[in-house]
Structures are given as C-alpha cells and as structure tokens.
Amino acid sequence: MNVETLFALCGCALVGIGLYGLIVQPHPLRKLVAFNIMGSGVFVLFGALAKRGAAAGMAADPVPQALLITAIVVAFAATAVTVALLLRLIESTATASLADEPPSGD
C-alpha cells in the first residue's frame, strides 16, 4: 500500500468517526467537534487526491490545495458561528440541550 492510499483510508476513517459522533452525541458542542473531525477527514482525502495528480498526470496537483485552504476557512467560520450560537443559547436558557420542550399536554 502506498502512502496516498494510506492517507485516503485515514480520511475515510475520520469521516466515519465524525458521522458516528454527529449521530450519537447529544451535546451540541460534541456534535460540532464531530463535524470538525468529519471535515478533517474530507480534507485529508482531498490532500491524498492532490498527491495522485489526477488532473494532468503531473507529479502533484496544486488545485486541491487552493480549494482546501478555502474549505478550511469555511469550516472555521462555520465552527465560530456555531460556538457563538451555543454560547447565546447557554446564556439565555442555562442549558445546552437541543431537545424540544416536551409537548404541552392538550
């Protein structure tokens, strides 16, 4: 197994771990961390693809790196917005639960 394949498989594993966390972790902060793990998995996979030089048979393809840096900035911004929302939620309700209020009995 060459090093690109190893990196790509690592990326896939990270995506899987992130997905698992997103589904089973109830706390929003843990979900956010899981999202970041999943995102990192995609970035590692993209990096491995760049090394493969898919575009023109070059030694390495520079385009994915340019795209990656943008994607990382987007993920960072997403994390910042979510943390800000979470802090406001804790400020105003003193809990960080995502669950709906129990339905009013009628």
Partner: protein
C-alpha cells in the same frame, strides 16, 4: 455555444454577486440607522441589475459567461447564467424588494435610538442572503457552489434567532448543525468528483462524467447532503421550529428564498452535471420523498394551533412539490433526463412558491402583530379587522393551490403534460391530490378568520398599510405569473378557466380541501357556541383525528436528531444503491 469565453454582458454576473455584499459591508461600516438606508438604496439597484441581466441574456440568446480574471476553466473560475439562473435571479431580486418594503415597519430603527440590534442584523443578513443566492445561481463550478451554499447558511441561520429567545436559538442551532452535516456530505461528493475527473467546472465535468462507482457515490452523497439543507421530508428536522419561530419578515426570506438555494443546486447537479448518470429509479425516489412531504406536511399543517407554524408546515409540503419534476423529466423510455416541460414546470413552481409563500408569511406576521397572538382558534373577526392581510393570505393560498390561472397552475399543467408524455400516471394523482391538501389548510384559515365574533376584536397594534400592500403585491404577483409565463408555455395547455372541465376540477379541489379541513382540524371547524367542543363527534371525524394524530407522531419521530441523521445516511445509501442497480444500458 461557447461556455469557456466571456460573453457580452458577462460582467453583469460578477456585479450581481458583488452588489449585495458591497451593500452589506457598507452598512456594517456606516452602522446605526444608515444600514436601513443603504439597504433601500441597494434593493432597487439590485433589481435593476437583475433586469439588465435578463435583457442581456435575451439579447445574447445564449448562456452568459464571465471568466474571473480572464482565466478559463479548468484552472480559472467561470460565472454562467442560463435560463433557469436568470429566472431565479429576477425572482429573488423582486421578492427581496417586496420583503424589504414589508420589513420597514418591523425592523425600522425607532426614533431616538442610535442603533437597534435586531434591525441592524436584519438588513445586513438580508443583503448577505441575496448575495449568496446570486452566487448560487451563477456559479459555474461545484466548489464555488459549495462556498455559496455555506454563505447562504451562515446568513440564514442568524435570521432564525433575531428575536433572541431560547426556543429560537435552539432552532437556529439545530438548523446550523444539520446543515453542516449536509454540507460536509456535499463537499465529500465534490472531492470524489475531482479525484475521478480532475475538474469541478460544470460543463467540463458533464462531458467527462461516466456512469461508474465514483460518480454514483458522489451523486448520492451530494444529493443527500443538499436534501438535508433543503429540508425535504424526512430531513425536515429544523424547518418547522426555525421558520415558525423567526420574525415574519425573516421567515419570509427563509421560506421563500433560502431553501431555493440548495434546491437549485440539486437541479444543477441532476440536469447539468450528471444527466447521463442519474437513472429513473433514483428520480422516482426523489419524487416519492416529495409526495410524502406533501401528504405529511399538509396533514400536520392542518393540526397546528398557531398560524405561523401552519405556514411553516405548508412550506414543508410545498418543498415536496419542487421535487416532483425529477421523475417527470425523463422521456418515455426512461433512459434520458430531458431539459423539457418538466424542468420549466419545476422552475415555475419554485418562482410562484417564492412569491406566494413570502406573501403568506408576511400576511401571517401582520395578523400576529395586530392581535398579539396567532392562535388559529382565536382568529374570529380578523377578516373584518384586517381585510387586506386576509386577502393577501387567501390569494397566496389560491396561488399555491394552482387552481385558477396562476404561476403554480401553469406549472401543474406542464408537469401533468410531462406525466402524460412519459406515461407516469401515478404522478398525475399526486399532482392533483396535492392541490386538495393545500386547499385544506387555506380553507381552515379562511373559515377561522371569517367566523363572527361576539365581543369586539381588540387590536394591540395598528399594522402598517405599506406592509399589508407589500404582502398583497407578492401574493398577487404569484397569480400574475400566469401572464408572464404564457410565452414559453405551449398553447394547448392553457384553457379557459371557466370551461366546465376546468371549473369542475377547481370545485373538486375546494370541496376536497374543505372535507379535509373538516375532518382533520384540531378544533371542530364549524362548531358554534351551541354544539360545544367535546360533544359527540361523528365516527368519521374520530377516525380522521386518529389519522391526524398518527401523522403528528410520525412527524415528531422524524424530527428527532438520531432518526433524522440516520435517515440522511440511509437516503445517501439508497440513492447510491438505486444508481448502482439501474445502470443505463
């Protein structure tokens, strides 16, 4: 047709993306009450720009292209505007202007206050949503589309929690997290496509892509991710609380415009990137989800106690309509996805929903503002007190039903024609039946507001006349779309609405809707003081209530986080599996 060189008028596309963002940054710099003024300068400018793009597109007679910095794909980035993109640009510009006029009353900075936080954020976010949507419509490659989609989410989520209460913050956070889930799946798909074909430029990719495992995986992941952002059933976890809890002027933006961004991307992906990869069974799954959304969304809408939540569930049902065009776009052999009547019908549906739903949310917001509540059971006498708002609500409802000549009516005709043409009779039933469900909740609201009130109705606030007419104008615009759409629609589909056959359909839809409302509404629809609630309900009504309750349970179950996220993965797997087993020969 040349897609890799800039055309005349192409620079307008870059301007359409930049203009709202320039407005946003200018507002951010000037601050205070200037924000609103900036927004009111940039709204007509943006509308004029959208009209200029339309004129350029008509003059050029082909897709407008602009290469950023003069670099051609695959290295550079192209902005492109084809027919659907131009139609959506124009719609969004018009609806944003209408919502802006409405929102002046709600989000004007009061006299004597230097800066009000909600108003300041609202106008900036409105500009941001507009810019992000324009980028979604004109992006020529899948990665720019990813960035545009994220911008749209970042601008849309804070709109949910402008009021700042715990419930709305929770709704916003759920929306954000679930949307992020969807966008990672989209990005994963885009990465796989780049790995497979070495480009993300849409026309280049469309030429290169083959029906093989990497394309199936990418299409399945991207479609599932985008459905999560569009909130198609069963991925509507965030929609009802977010759209029902936001201030009306924000709900109108979210419901009419924001969800169209990710929907448009699904259209791009299926029709422009992978027309050779998608198969009829996978499109049938998309249509089936749409049909389920229509039935469950409409029934749960009928069971709501609050008007704004009713409208939010109606949005969930209308999203279903937008996905019915996918199976209908296949030709009679079921092998090829065509850019034909079904696509025009779907786009027309999106445009008329954008205008009608904005008008409907605005009318609901006015009723809420005037009464201080929006409990459907206590709406008696509203028709007399707020005739213009009620008229706007009803016109929007009629426009959504698609019974009399309106945008949705022509859209339905186009889709019905496509269903006949491709021999898929089952979608005919869904299309006609869907109108009955829509009629159900419109009749429910109409009966509630027309009810006579024993005591005088106390209005807690006078609503702005200008806002009322903005709502009415958008609702009326949805009806008038029928005229604008006459050009591209073949004549044999347009018939006299008073002809016996058409009239019979209209009456059937309305009667069916009234029956549904009678059976499923939470409080007995026609109860007066004499037959108080709790009096012996008929057996039929009890059965209908049980059905309604079951649908509510199903909706509540689907909106639990673990269920929704597992549905997301299951859908991705299903799409992948369906693509795999139905490879075109």
């Amino acid at each position: 047709m040349e897609l890799w060189t800039s055309t005349h008028g192409g620079a307008l596309l870059a301007a359409a993306v930049l203009l709202p963002f320039v407005g946003m940054l200018l507002g951010l710099l000037l601050g205070g009450r200037q924000v609103q003024r900036v927004a009111f300068v940039f709204m007509p400018l943006g509308l004029a720009l959208a009209l200029a793009i339309t004129a350029a597109w008509l003059g050029e007679g082909q897709t407008l292209v602009y290469l950023l910095g003069g670099w051609a794909p695959p290295l550079g980035i192209a902005l492109r505007a084809d027919g659907p993109a131009v139609a959506m640009l124009l719609t969004v510009a018009g609806v944003v202007c209408g919502i802006g006029i409405y929102a002046r009353a709600d989000f004007g900075t009061p006299l004597g206050v230097k800066e009000s936080r909600a108003a300041f954020s609202y106008w900036l976010l409105l500009m941001a949503v507009w810019g992000a949507l324009n980028l979604v419509f004109v992006s020529g490659d899948l990665f720019t589309l990813y960035v545009a989609l994220e911008l749209l989410t970042f601008a849309g989520v804070p709109l949910v929690c402008l009021a700042g209460g715990g419930e709305t913050l929770r709704a916003a956070l759920r929306y954000m997290l679930f949307a992020l889930c969807g966008s990672v799946l989209y990005l994963l798909g885009a990465v796989l496509l780049y790995g497979g074909y070495g480009t993300l430029d849409i026309p280049l990719l469309a030429d290169a892509v083959q029906p093989e495992p990497i394309a199936w995986a990418a299409l399945a992941l991207m479609t599932a991710g985008l459905l999560a952002k569009t909130a198609l059933f069963p991925l509507h976890i965030w929609l009802p609380p977010a759209h029902g809890g936001a201030p009306a002027a924000a709900s109108a933006v979210l419901s009419a415009l924001v969800i169209k961004g990710s929907w448009f991307l699904v259209v791009r992906l299926w029709f422009d990137v992978m027309p050779g990869v998608v198969t009829l069974p996978s499109a049938q799954l998309l249509g089936a989800l749409g049909a389920m959304a229509i039935v469950i969304g409409s029934v749960v809408a009928l069971r709501q106690e609050r008007l704004k939540l009713l409208v939010a569930y109606s949005t969930m049902a209308q999203i279903g309509y937008l996905f019915l065009m996918f199976p209908l776009a296949f030709d009679a052999t079921g092998n090829a996805l065509m850019h034909g009547a079904a696509l025009s019908g779907g786009l027309l549906q999106a445009v008329s929903h954008a205008t009608a739903k904005a008008g409907m949310f605005m009318a609901a917001g006015l009723i809420y503002a005037a009464l201080g509540h929006d409990r459907i059971a206590d709406l008696a006498g509203v028709a007399r007190a707020l005739p213009v708002s009620v008229l706007a609500f009803v016109l929007a409802g009629i426009a959504l039903m698609g019974v009399v000549p309106s945008g949705a009516y022509l859209a339905k005709k186009l889709l019905l024609d496509a269903a006949d043409g491709s021999g898929q009779w089952w979608w005919t039933i869904v299309l006609q039946g869907g109108a009955v469900f829509t009629a159900g909740y419109v009749v429910l609201v109409l009966v509630s507001v027309l009810r006579r009130r024993s005591a005088a109705l106390v209005l807690v606030k006078r609503v702005s006349r200008r806002s009322e007419f903005a709502a009415l104008a958008l609702a009326a615009a949805s009806l008038l779309l029928a005229l604008a759409a006459l050009g591209p629609v073949p004549c044999h589909l347009v018939s006299n609405p008073l002809a016996p056959k058409e009239l019979a359909t209209t009456v059937l839809v309305l009667v069916g809707g009234a029956l549904l409302a009678l059976g499923l509404s939470r409080a007995p629809l026609l109860a007066t003081g004499r037959s108080a609630a709790g009096a012996s309900d008929g057996r039929l009504r009890q059965a209908a209530l049980a059905v309604g309750m079951a649908f509510e349970q199903a909706d509540r179950l689907a909106r639990r986080w673990p269920v929704a996220s597992i549905s997301l993965l299951t859908l991705a797997a299903l799409f992948g599996g369906l693509l795999l087993v139905s490879v075109p020969k």
